[in-house]
Symmetry: C2
Subunit: 379 residues, 2 copies
Amino acid sequence: MTTTSATAKFVLSGCSPSSSPSTSTAPNRLLPFTNLNFKCRAFHSDHRFNRLLNFHAGYYKSPAFLCTRTATHSPSFTAAALATEASAKIIDGKSIAKDVRDEVAAEVSRMKEAIGVVPGLAVILVGDRKDSATYVRNKKKACESVGINSFEVRLPEDSPEEEVLKHIRSFNDDPAVHGILVQLPLPSHMNEKKVLDAVCIEKDVDGFHPLNIGRLAMRDREPLFVPCTPKGCLELLHRQGIAIKGKRAVVIGRSNIVGTPAAQLLQREDATVTVVHSRTTNPEEFTREADIIIAAVGKPNMVRGSWIKPGAVVIDVGINPVEDAKSSRGYRLVGDVCYEEASKIASAITPVPGGVGPMTIAMLLSNTLVSAKRIHNFK
Amino acid sequence: MTTTSATAKFVLSGCSPSSSPSTSTAPNRLLPFTNLNFKCRAFHSDHRFNRLLNFHAGYYKSPAFLCTRTATHSPSFTAAALATEASAKIIDGKSIAKDVRDEVAAEVSRMKEAIGVVPGLAVILVGDRKDSATYVRNKKKACESVGINSFEVRLPEDSPEEEVLKHIRSFNDDPAVHGILVQLPLPSHMNEKKVLDAVCIEKDVDGFHPLNIGRLAMRDREPLFVPCTPKGCLELLHRQGIAIKGKRAVVIGRSNIVGTPAAQLLQREDATVTVVHSRTTNPEEFTREADIIIAAVGKPNMVRGSWIKPGAVVIDVGINPVEDAKSSRGYRLVGDVCYEEASKIASAITPVPGGVGPMTIAMLLSNTLVSAKRIHNFK
């Protein structure tokens, strides 16, 4: 877990999501995700990607990150920020995800009526992590809600790797299954890369296979599947009517499953893309020039208001739990973007929760439908 | 050919490579590459990549491109530019390529002595294009110079696609062949993608396979081969001791075989990379902030001195023929960068010819060696 490494020293200075504005003077502290009795609501994202995000703890020691709103502002930026009282349009991921699910449900129904085929998603869960169990349960519920069949295999923590591979091979050959997911993380005795690569590319609805990522990166090539979270980010932009072509975009984070494919997708739509990462000296210098920011770091409130160009669009992929004594759960979720500050500067922004999160599962359903249609050549 | 599209209206205002400074008042005009009786010297690059570069002619109508040196300069830039008389270090691609070839030759020899295996490169040439024949001849000569066996198949222009595929399959199965190249362009009746994909990935020394590009894009994955031209660009930086980590890099052009893998390679070495392309509104705003520029556009002299930050490193991938009445051949080669201007601003720059060009074939030899070593598990 990348989020745990910076926990001990981490202090957030008065930046909280608008859904629960903090008036407390007590600093919010980051919580290690794994230690939480994490009750995720339906359609919230899981942390399959968070653990793979590649920011380093050292990054966050920079003054820019720990700064208050008065620091690091350029004069022109400060003037513009002070001049505006308008709040950003909140991009309602819950509502858009519902639209997507409704569309998937309609297509699933049309397919069933036309050719008698029902798309099927298989999920393999190894071990008894509560959070993983929650994510799998949510995926199952999401499938049910749109009429997609779901198949589930639960294996004990100490299962041999071969047991997982055997089930993958079985699903690869099963004509009722059109998508296969292996819930991450796997127990440490398993080779994650080997297990993931065993999923046949035609059913790799996560879209993480290198062949798929290669096709995504290349002009005149088409991926079989677009990874769910970045696909969800682009879907939000599309459905909000936000232009991408010719715009400056900055993706923060270069993970295989969010940052890299998000950058590829933006470039495919003719944005000029910069990928900012843990070795970027002054990330805010890049973000301040961006028309579109996608933050996929896994670090709470990293992107401050001062990092954002007035009028920019901000897509916040992070879902980070921070301690919150006022919450009955003892924590609350915040994004990679300091929502309180950013929502005063940006023209549109995704909230956390309720932004990108709900889109991830919606895109998984969409990918499963795409797969079934392709396998059965159904238009 | 992308270079032909802008030919008619193209006028270059006094920017010529220092190797043949133009004092003529007559404008230089771009030549369509295909119409030239192009006599390439050994180890010059071929235009396998030029035809795949993806800049659009519309781009070059912008004032920034047609500007003279006095236009579009920011005050600070102009001051800095005027203040310096120093010339950039010329990165001698010919010399570095020779070093690489010497190293490959030594390894080929060591391998032969140790296990009796000689690396082999097969080239398939379809049709009778003079330029293609020249490139194939150069590759053959380069192989000979380092002790790599070369195999060649020449097919008539009207050969059926199946004939090409048959030869590829035969080379795929031939243990004496460790690398396979299909010389591009293929005749128009052939499906280039299908032909290229027929080369087995273990022998795809060009490194253009999507699986390879995917691995290059992903963290914790390794490509089997790095495409030759971008590999050559990075090799130049490495051998000049130019730091990449933490630097700002701008790649101009997003082709599958130069721009995209060049950006991936730079990011793998922890540069913060922006890819500028035909839909970027003000490319010079990005290049002016860059510590490292790789220009891979296929448009002569597009990058002016005013586009470059003082002290930046400039790698020029372009090899463009322009009319030159003073040359016995009637043309000369220029890069994508206006060398005359850029060499006064940059700290280091590759010339054209003699920069990236010689590196491409050197890297092809290197990749063939890498392949033979891997297939025979020779360390």
